[in-house]
Symmetry: C2
Subunit: 105 residues, 2 copies
DNA sequence: GATATATGCAGTCAAACACCTGCATGTCAA
DNA sequence: TTGACATGCAGGTGTTTGACTGCATATATC
């Protein structure tokens, strides 16, 4: 499976997007920390995190008996650059008009 | 299911993203047209299109015996605004610095 | 060492997904 | 009106997903 496909798949689930949001708000959280308030079993959270890791959206390091998670924004940038940006053509044009106007001053 | 969830789900499949790409390249294509080159049965394509329509990513109108499809960029804009943009903070800051510099001139 | 805590591993299960086939209906055109 | 064409509808199937439970292992703390 292509890397970009994994990212889109990973983002398809609301629980996983919430996990990303939480890590973006506070990086380095443990598995246990991430479980709190996510009304589902620890194992389910683990599975979601594995999927996110496989899509390179988070990275993991062990410290003692704890597992610390870090959000990686690169794949989301790539999705934006390679796929979403082309649908934002209008806005990009607006920006380049803005620049052009300034250069004419 | 929340509207934004439907959009993410709809984007999770590569075939559906290809359909969007194709409609973005050329709007108003019929079902038959969209089937060509998409190595799968017509019914499968229909299902994908239904899902895209449900996510409001395309709209459909009938003309005679044909079904014409039109791409709607709004949900993708919304995903960008409501979810992706916050991870692009660095770039946004760069833009506002750019503006600030200009205003100081 | 004993106990509590954090996470890992294996297996189960229902529902959703992504595909298919066969037949039906509706529309255009000769 | 009849034949060709575009799409719709119903139902079937194998795989993946998203959740669970129970038990195992590793690490910190007393």
């Amino acid at each position: 499976m292509k890397a970009i496909d994994k990212v889109f798949k990973a983002l398809a689930d609301p629980s996983r997007r919430e996990l990303i949001d939480r890590l973006h708000a506070k990086n380095g959280q443990t598995l246990g920390e991430l479980c709190k308030g996510l009304d589902m079993a620890r194992q389910s959270v683990t599975q979601h995190l594995e999927l996110l890791e496989d899509a390179n959206l988070i990275s993991v390091r062990r410290v003692g008996r704890e597992k610390l998670h870090t959000f990686n924004p690169v794949p989301i940038h790539e999705i934006y650059e390679r796929w979403i940006r082309k649908f934002e053509r209008g806005r990009l044009d607006a920006l380049s008009n803005f620049k052009a106007k300034l250069e004419r001053k």
